[in-house]
Amino acid sequence: MRSFTYERAKTPQQAAAAVAGTPGGKFIAGGTNLLDLMKLEIETPVHLVDVQDVGLDRIEPTEAGGLRIGALVSNTALSADARVMRDYAVLTRAIQAGASGQLRNKATTGGNLLQRTRCPYFYDTNMPCNKRDPGAGCAAKDGYSRQLGVIGISESCIATYPGDMAVALRVLDAVVETIDADGETRSIPIADFHSLWGDTPHIENVLADGEMITAVTLPRPLGGKHIYHKVRDRRSYAFALVSVAAVIQPDGTGRVAFGGMAPKPWRVAAAEAALPQGAAAVAARAFADAQPTDHNRYKISLAERTLAGVLAEARS
């Protein structure tokens, strides 16, 4: 870990200004991802702006009939909120399928969205990695890639976005709200928030330097059955091999997004439209362009089978 300076901001705009004004500045919220990466020198910020005092720790109703979740709301609080449990159960189930109780107590809504990939080569600074060190090459592509991405990936990087919460937010069509140093705010649909790797796998989302997440808003409730099924090698404390977030209506239509497959939660409109025809039809459309390695080819049939199980659960 490199030495760094540290400050605690009082307001979101002040935080944004502090980060934007310091080259190598970064926000820190729960610190559960950032500090690990700093210890390994995968992240080397020179200045940390702690946002824990800026407020933004409430879940409030919106005028549109949805919920506005402050960026500092912990994963524990969010998943246990009575309104979320009732109207957005897919979100509760996704969050509770992640990490551990202790981590969820610390992890924040904003930080969770921005957690970085779990590609093992990304974590070993002796290995070439375009995400850590643009232009260095990708050690994973011809290496151990069992957990890595099959679609939306690129020649430069085959890593996945590893999180669970965002997959549920994707089916819910959440919107990410931000503020910058000048106090400008914007609303970014979750669909547009995470970037595909392309030639620039070190760029993972559309946030500008110093742009701070203030909230995530959920549109009005969708009804339907909310299911999150996360498949992993052990029952807890493991990232998804594949996960499926789904909201299924009584008529068999619905929404579905996949985790563990791609640089972002993977939701394809044409695939979703095929939900009434069953899992195979959805998977065929969602993963038509997949480019798996020999190690992770199984993910495609696993995604289809997991969805089949989810649809069976929705019917039961």
């Binding site: 870990m1 490199r2 030495s3 210890k39 390994l40 020198e41 779990r118 093992p120 080569y121 974590y123 070993d124 002796n126 290995m127 050690a139 011809d142 290496g143 151990y144 069992r146 099924h229 498949v231 992993r232 090698d233 052990r234 029952r235 807890s236 404390y237 493991a238 990232f239 091999l241 899992a279 199984y298 049939s301 696993l302 089978r305 997991t306 089949a308 199980g309 069976a312």
Partner: protein, 731 residues
């Protein structure tokens, strides 16, 4: 005291304290976080500073250049010890590659520098600005491609490790049924909770290491060999370990670098191997390829059995003896067992909990399941008909006490084996495919000489001192029970001090010999103390009855305190009469598993192990040993694998997130039953170890249950869902 004939009735047979369920006497220290583990021994020496280890970034080659100038200039840095500037250190027991020194790199993350600084953070920060240039060399990293040409293993005793009895080939070809399958097991990591850690302090020529180590006497000598110094100038102190599993049998880089760093800095230095370093820097259980051929008659009797195992290691490293249990477990006149050893440039392989046998059962006991199916025979019955009371390759050698058949019958009965579904893939419960599997288990029951000192004070308190270690196993408690039993005092009157090389040398903790050996040493010391008390008070210590802090002798009695302060040492050694016996531990293991028919996820529902291990000194800690081993078996079967990158030559998933040991939620229900057996050959205690028996076989029980649930046989461990997903029924 020499043990030179099978035990008759002795002081232990009173079993007033031994054998009783007894909570750990060190439990309160553990649960309050006050047991002093190596890295937190802040009080043992003032002025401690921190060392941070830099590991090699390549698997094989040379350090062309190392620039530490920037690191030296970093805040707080006190000293930097580099490999190129250090003559390769000597090798201690069990070291294959040198732990430090020289320009050659033998494996990934081999230690190449230590930065010593005032704080941990400063040492870590400085280590990251050390610049290293390497000359890479090609290496051999793939066991599958190195195995075919590998020679017979000669690393155990110098002779090629092949045993032939009868005419295997002819008998196999003539057999009514034949089975010929290959199984592979991956490299595995001990992944113990406490990383390797040491604090080193020099006083002139004398070195003290407060460390985390299983084998104090061995490693006092090893530190001498490694650092080229008199072992008498070395003191090791390791009273508590947060797990070892064989990973701390030997001296590792933490101890060596702490010593070198302390010398360089002129201050006591503490070094803990960073978690991401441990997987490649230290030892691991080597991967294996195993071929089983079994021929049997219609009645299930094995006529021919061949088990061959291939493993790899660095030059000079030993091979994995995966066929060991096959030489003991089942009858059969025509036999072939052999181990082959390839040379690889991966990190060094060495002992991990039940070395050889843990992996060996993963092949043998699945092959037996496959054989049972071919014979259309109950897997329990198949094992029963092939039981033997003599060692199959050496029929003149008897098992000292073998009750495998009882384990099998009792296990089947308790588990409800008779009700199982016999058609693989044929039992469905909603979305779950349900299956049951079983396996037999064998682990040898070694014992070794062990010494202790026992002191009696004026208040009648008994204190035991021995360099025995408690690696989480419960040594403190069984040693206290032993002393309480033999000295006739309540358990709370006994103090136990362990792990200091200043104490008499014990057998240490390893190979499941610790409990049997160390308690025998304490027994010998107690017998000597009783004699000393008798001498002082004028009676025969062997004939008196010590009970409830009083001594009853013919025609009178004493209070124990009448003896005043006294102390005695004793050592148990073993005569060669044991050579006429094979001393082993036996078990049956059962497992019920549910497999999600959609996703292939597998969830253990319940497990049972029935163990035959002689006298159980403490059913509480013995059970803990076995359930821990059962959990480790679940990991070995379903999730644990050090993933080899065959290009870069290293274990990729080198942290606790990537190397997936089971979590609590993976292990719902475990039951352990101990048969009430006594083994008169092993020691006067008649007790054998259980710590490794518990990982010999549950693996195969899980694998066989998975097969019974799905009808799909996977022979490459770990049995992750990607290996069978496409063969599950369509959804």
């Amino acid at each position: 005291m020499e043990y030179n004939a099978p035990a008759g009735k002795n002081l232990f047979d009173n079993a007033k304290v031994v054998g009783k369920p007894t909570r750990r006497i060190d439990g309160p220290l553990k649960t309050t976080g006050t047991a002093p583990y190596a890295y937190e021994r802040h009080d043992v020496v003032p002025g401690q500073v921190y060392g941070y280890v830099l590991g090699a970034g390549i698997a094989k080659g040379r350090i062309a250049a190392m620039d530490v100038s920037a690191a030296r200039a970093m805040p707080g840095v006190l000293a930097i010890v580099t490999a190129p500037d250090t003559k390769p250190v000597g090798k201690g027991m069990g070291n294959t590659a040198p732990l430090f020194g020289g320009r050659d790199i033998a494996h990934y993350h081999q230690a190449i520098a230590l930065v010593v600084a005032e704080t941990f953070e400063q040492a870590r920060a400085a280590s990251s600005v050390i610049r290293v240039e390497y000359e890479r060399q090609k290496g051999a990293f793939d066991l599958a491609s190195a195995a075919p040409g590998a020679p017979l293993d000669t690393t155990r005793g110098g002779e090629p490790d092949q045993v032939r009895t009868g005419d295997f080939e002819a008998a196999y070809h003539a057999a009514y049924v034949q089975l010929d399958e290959r199984y592979t097991t991956p490299d595995e990591s001990h992944a113990m909770m406490e990383p390797h850690a040491s604090i080193a302090a020099w006083e002139g020529e004398k070195l003290t290491l407060w460390t985390s180590n299983q084998m104090i006497a061995w490693n006092k000598g090893s530190v001498g060999d490694i650092l080229d110094m008199e072992p008498d100038n070395v003191r090791l102190d390791s009273p508590y370990l947060g797990g070892g599993f064989g990973g701390k049998l030997f001296v590792r880089a933490d101890a060596v670098l702490a010593a070198l760093g302390a010398k360089a800095a002129g201050r006591p230095v503490k070094v803990m191997l960073q978690r991401p370093l441990i997987y490649n820097n230290t030892t691991h259980r080597p991967a294996s390829i195993q071929r089983l051929r079994i021929g049997a008659g219609k009645d299930g009797r094995i006529s021919a059995i061949a088990h061959e195992g291939w493993s790899g290691n660095l030059p000079g490293g030993s091979g994995e003896n995966t066929v060991q249990q096959t030489r003991q477990l089942y009858a059969g006149d025509h036999r072939l067992t052999a181990n082959y050893l390839a040379t690889l440039d991966l990190p060094e392989g060495n002992a991990m909990r039940a070395p050889g046998e843990a992996s060996g059962h993963m092949a043998l006991e699945v092959a037996m399941d496959e054989l049972a199916e071919k014979l259309d025979m109950c897997p329990v019955e198949l094992r029963i008909v092939n039981d033997t009371q003599t060692v199959p390759d050496e029929p003149e050698i008897k098992f000292s006490d073998r009750n495998l058949v009882r384990c099998l019958r009792e296990g089947a009965e308790r588990f409800g084996w008779a009700n199982r579904n016999k058609t693989p893939g044929g039992l469905r419960d909603g979305r779950w495919l349900i299956g049951m599997g079983m396996a037999a288990g064998y682990r040898n029951g070694p014992v070794g000489k062990s010494a202790a000192r026992v002191k009696l004070d004026r208040r009648g308190r008994v204190t035991v001192e021995t360099d025995m270690t408690d690696i989480g196993t419960g040594s403190y408690t069984i040693i206290a029970q032993t002393a309480a039993e033999v000295m006739g005092v309540p358990l709370k009157q006994v103090t136990v001090r362990l792990g200091d090389s200043a104490y008499p040398a014990s057998a240490g903790s390893g190979g499941q010999w610790g409990a049997a050996s160390s308690t025998a040493g304490v027994y010998a010391a107690c017998v000597n103390l009783r004699r000393a008390i008798g001498e002082k008070l004028g009676f025969d210590g062997d004939a008196a009855t010590f009970d409830n802090s009083r001594i009853a002798v013919d025609g009178g009695s004493f209070a124990l305190t009448d003896a005043g302060a006294l102390s005695a040492t004793g050592e148990m050694t073993y005569g060669d009469f044991q050579d006429d016996y094979s001393v082993g531990t036996f078990a049956s293991h059962f497992c019920e598993i549910a497999v999600d028919a959609y996703t292939g996820e597998s969830f253990i529902r319940r497990m049972l192990s029935v163990c035959d291990a002689g006298r159980i000194l403490n059913p509480v800690s013995a059970r803990s040993q076995v359930i821990g081993a059962m959990a480790m078996s679940v990991g070995a079967t379903l999730t644990e694998e050090l993933a080899v990158d065959k290009r870069f030559g290293f274990f990729v998933n080198h942290d606790m997130a990537g190397y997936e040991v089971p979590v609590h939620a993976d292990i719902p229900h475990q039951e352990v039953v101990f048969l009430d057996t006594l083994d008169p050959v092993i020691s006067p205690m008649k007790a054998k170890g259980v710590g490794e028996l518990g990982i010999c076989g549950p693996t195969a029980a899980v694998a066989n249950a998975l097969y019974n649930a799905t009808g799909i046989r996977v022979r490459e461990y770990p049995l992750t869902l990607d290996k069978y997903l496409d063969r599950l029924p369509a959804v």
